[in-house]
């Protein structure tokens, strides 16, 4: 169907299917800003975009204009989609566009989805919104518009990205990482050596790795360190796209807080890490971060690939996450240098700690943490800093 809600129908020349390749998915960010919790539409879209082969970063509820555009910069996003169903778009969108400018990423198109009266479409367009979609727009029309906008986006050239990287420009770092991930490094460029400590944070799905990393990163930044996070999520084996949802539990801070998060899709690779993950870590290292935290697909027991790219491995567990028999079987148990039991506000933490102690040798550290209650974070961060 024709969607009347965009600014005029798409022109044929706007399409460039050749730029849309499964090997290099278009990276989009879908965001809810403000207190509005109506997330049905944005979640349907997130899944539809993944199924159309996109890498989708969904930043969850309750974001600000600034946190959204900061994410777009760090993640090197091709198109940002903002969903607003609270009638606050005429307040929020100018803020979004202001932060886009301040962060120097005006080349990133911003699309609004929401209940927008017709007379405000023109105003939003003039303000700098690339498109506006109202409820009832077909998914196909939205996907096509995003593809067209991504194809039109002007990215930094490789040389520009390198120059920006050298002058410590975070937006350039974001775009360089994309070149690295796509294995498009020209001239055999390699990043300078750095002195970062790299920690792999792994554990089964649902143990709360992302929330924990966000809080550990904050505690470390507050001590004056520069911290980068690499969060890896699986790609869909069917469509090649990925839903990158870890970031939403880690986000905090403002530009200048020295906290940089980059989400990667695992691509066709198995074993918990994405393509070029080691090179991405080297680039972050050379950029000057003090600590790099790598979150891997929560594949659990046999997932030991992380050991090759990190200095130390931290295994995250939660109460009742397995009996001691399971512990002793697990390959990951042997390679972990440190253990964090998260969600200690839930019953069963003592039993889990007891089982863990009996399964490992005594010289490996066990920390107890509750991210929801903010308990034990500082102690765990101290242990990481002293590793």
């Amino acid at each position: 169907m024709v969607t009347k809600s965009t600014f005029g129908p798409l022109k044929q020349e706007e399409f460039n299917d050749e730029l849309f390749m499964t090997d290099h998915p278009i990276r989009i960010l879908l965001a809810k800003i403000g207190l509005d919790g109506h997330d049905r539409g944005v979640k349907v879209l997130a899944r539809s975009f993944r199924d159309a082969g996109f890498d989708v970063i969904y930043t969850g509820l309750w974001q600000t204009a600034q946190s959204t555009m900061l994410a777009a910069m760090q993640e090197d996003i091709d198109v940002v989609g903002v969903s607003l169903l609270s009638a606050a778009h005429m307040t929020v969108m100018p803020e979004v566009l202001r932060h886009r400018k301040e962060l120097g990423i005006e080349n990133v198109p911003v699309v609004l989805g929401g209940i927008v009266p017709e007379d405000e479409h023109r105003l939003l367009h003039e303000m700098g919104c690339a498109a506006v979609f109202n409820p009832g727009s077909s998914i196909d029309s939205i996907v096509e518009k995003f593809k067209a906008l991504a194809a039109q986006r002007r990215r930094l050239s490789f040389d520009e990205a390198i120059a920006g990287y050298k002058s410590k420009n975070d937006a350039a770092l974001g775009q360089l990482i994309t070149y690295i991930q796509r294995d498009q490094l020209d001239n055999g460029w390699t990043p300078p050596d750095g002195s970062a400590k790299v920690f792999g944070i792994t554990g089964a799905p649902g143990v709360g790795k992302s929330s924990l990393i966000g809080k550990l990163g904050k505690a470390m930044c507050e001590k004056g360190f520069k911290v980068a996070v690499v969060a890896v999520d699986p790609s869909s084996p069917v469509h090649g796209g990925a839903l990158l949802g870890d970031r939403l539990r880690m986000m905090w801070g403002e530009p200048g807080d020295n906290f940089f998060i980059r989400s990667l899709s695992s691509g066709k690779q198995y074993g918990g890490l994405g393509p070029q993950c080691a090179e991405v870590i080297r680039a972050l290292n050379g950029y000057g971060f003090d600590y790099i935290l790598v979150e891997t697909v929560g594949a659990g027991q046999s997932d030991v690939a992380i050991r090759d790219v990190v200095d130390k491995t931290v295994l995250v567990l939660m109460p009742e996450s397995g009996d001691s028999v399971q512990f002793s079987k697990a390959g990951i148990m042997e390679i972990a240098d440190m253990f964090i039991i998260n969600k200690c506000d839930l019953p069963g933490a003592d039993a889990t700690e007891g089982q863990l102690k009996s399964a490992i040798d005594a010289n490996r550290q066990i920390c107890r943490v509750s991210t929801v209650r903010n308990e034990g974070i500082d102690v765990a961060a101290e242990h990481l800093l002293s590793q």
Partner: protein, 530 residues
């Protein structure tokens, strides 16, 4: 040609051309259906239903400042309405004050802003609280708003035992669907249990929880999921109250339900009939309630906002009318009919009036009120009711296997189910399998324009200025002591209601009380999403 509902493809068993006696073989009338007013109340909780008293027409309203809404309340009371229904703005719903940075642009937009006792006092200024019944649609900070209400009543010389009304206070569905949660699931339910306990002991006329399927359905659930998730939530509240040591016959009568009425006409009627049957059985047989009143599933219903379209908006009047009729034929206790312009903005007065008239036409002109459960005994309706019940029972077993409602929340069960259903509906719509008039069928090129309501930006400025002034003027020592006492009560796992009432009187704000409790309970960043 029959239009397929946007809700979901009908289940295979409903795809027959017609139904007959063999479809309800084994359905025993006395045991499964029974007369209206007789256990298990499939046909309704009263024998006479609307012959004796029509349903309550309760239109939800609230916007701008406390004064704006107070004026609207007084107008409605002047028109003979006795029930008030309060919509709060997003910051209040999220437990944040009007001056919180995240409240920017949202103050007074989708409802009234209430940050303190001062605001609540102005909201009900000149309204005798022993003369009205007040419904408050609020969840995470529900206990705090109830504390404000109790404190305002006390200033009027009205004791809590005289207060009538309903607190939505259903935090579980916030985790499933509406996303207005603050604390993690377990302490959140503890807080609800505190209000149930307080209500049972002090406020015998107050409905403590309105267990809501509406938001679950609007977020994408199908009818069976709405039914099962809502009743499972209800059972979870009952179990927590029993664990608290409360007597089921003391508190159960104050629990009520709130369902969506969607497009699939007969399925919606069957859903509500099944809900009554299931609830009556679990209350009597599983939880041992002895009083008949405690077996009743009383419910409010609202037509489905999600079915309304921005295109050709006057068509929405027709959609709402069919949905409202389904609600009435299902025997609901009260009904809100949506306004035709709700996909665009808060409703205008004119649109609200048409919505109300829609109910009044059903009540006055169609004669459907003259007989209870007129569809009872239809082979199709009875089969569909049985089918809804069976689907709900299957879902209850899945929830039990995940460790109950809270366990299932923590494992992302509800959100995953709802998102899966929403995707199915989206695919059906995009493929044209689900037809929506004016959107993917009978589309017109020209947009029909209707007037919409806009809320002025000055509301926020005035509200923030007043809040700042109030914070300056209040007794700082008394304020701090009340919050310290609240912290201690929360940490000691005591019932926090008396401490919230005291903090309300000490001019502590919603945001401050939430912060104090979050320091003890923690803040929830949402369960697994996909």
């Amino acid at each position: 040609m029959a239009t397929k509902p946007i809700s979901e493809p009908q289940s295979a068993s409903s795809n027959k051309a017609y139904y007959g006696p063999e479809d309800v073989n084994g359905t025993d009338y006395a045991r499964e259906i029974a007369d209206p007013g007789t256990f298990p109340f499939t046909r309704g909780i009263h024998p006479e239903m609307y012959r004796k008293r029509t349903w309550t027409m309760r239109q939800f309203a609230g916007f701008g400042s406390a004064e704006h809404t107070n004026e609207r309340f007084k107008y409605l009371l002047g028109q003979g309405q006795t029930g008030l229904s309060t919509a709060f703005d997003l910051p209040t719903l999220m437990g944040r004050d009007s001056d919180d940075p995240l409240s920017l642009g949202e103050v007074g937009k989708c409802g009234v802003a209430v940050s303190s006792l001062d605001d609540m006092r102005r909201l009900f200024d000149g309204i005798a609280l022993d003369q009205v019944s007040t419904s408050m649609t609020i969840n995470a900070p529900a206990a705090i708003l109830l504390a404000f209400y109790i404190a305002v009543a006390e200033e009027q010389g009205v004791g809590p035992d005289k207060l009538r009304g309903t607190l939505q206070n259903d935090i579980l569905k916030e985790f499933h669907a509406q996303n207005e949660y603050v604390f993690p699931p377990r302490p959140s339910v503890k807080l609800v249990t505190d209000t149930i306990e307080h209500g049972t002991n002090e406020m015998p006329l107050w409905n403590t929880v309105s267990i809501s399927g509406y938001h679950i359905r609007e977020a994408g659930a199908n009818a069976a999921q709405e039914l099962a998730f809502t009743l499972a939530d209800g059972m979870s509240y009952v179990e927590h109250a029993l664990e608290r040591g409360l007597d089921v016959d003391e508190f159960a009568k104050r629990l009520s339900f709130f369902f969506d009425v969607h497009n699939d006409f007969f399925e919606e009627i069957a859903k509500i009939r099944a809900a009554r049957r299931i609830w009556a059985r679990v209350m009597r047989d599983k939880y041992g309630a002895k009083l008949e009143r405690n077996w009743w599933m009383r419910c409010h219903a609202q037509t489905a906002g999600v079915t309304l379209t921005e295109q050709q908006p006057t068509n929405n009047i027709v959609r709402v009318a069919y949905q409202a009729l389904a609600g009435v034929l299902a025997g609901v206790q009260s009904l809100h009919t949506n306004s035709m312009d709700e996909t665009l903005a808060l409703p205008t007065e004119k649109a609200v009036k048409v919505a109300l008239r829609t109910q009044q036409i059903i009540a006055c002109e169609t004669n459907v009120t003259q007989v209870a459960d007129p569809l009872g005994g239809s082979w199709f309706i009875e089969q569909k009711t049985n089918e809804m019940e069976a689907e709900a029972n299957a879902i209850f077993r899945e929830i039990d296997d995940l460790g109950g409602v809270i366990g299932a929340i923590e494992q992302g069960y509800f959100r995953r189910c709802i998102a899966d259903s929403a995707i199915k509906q989206s695919v059906a719509f995009d493929s044209g399998e689900a037809e929506v008039v004016g959107v993917n069928k009978y589309v017109e090129d020209d947009y029909e324009r209707i007037d919409v309501l806009k809320i002025g930006e000055d509301v926020e400025k005035k509200q923030v200025a007043r809040l700042t002034q109030m914070k300056r003027d209040r007794d700082a020592k008394r304020h701090k002591e009340s919050l310290d006492a609240l912290t201690k009560a929360a940490a000691d796992d005591a019932n926090v209601m008396p401490f919230l009432i005291d903090a309300a009187k000490a001019n502590a704000t919603v945001g401050e009380m939430m912060e104090v409790m979050a320091n003890v309970f923690g803040r929830y960043d949402g369960g697994p999403e996909w």
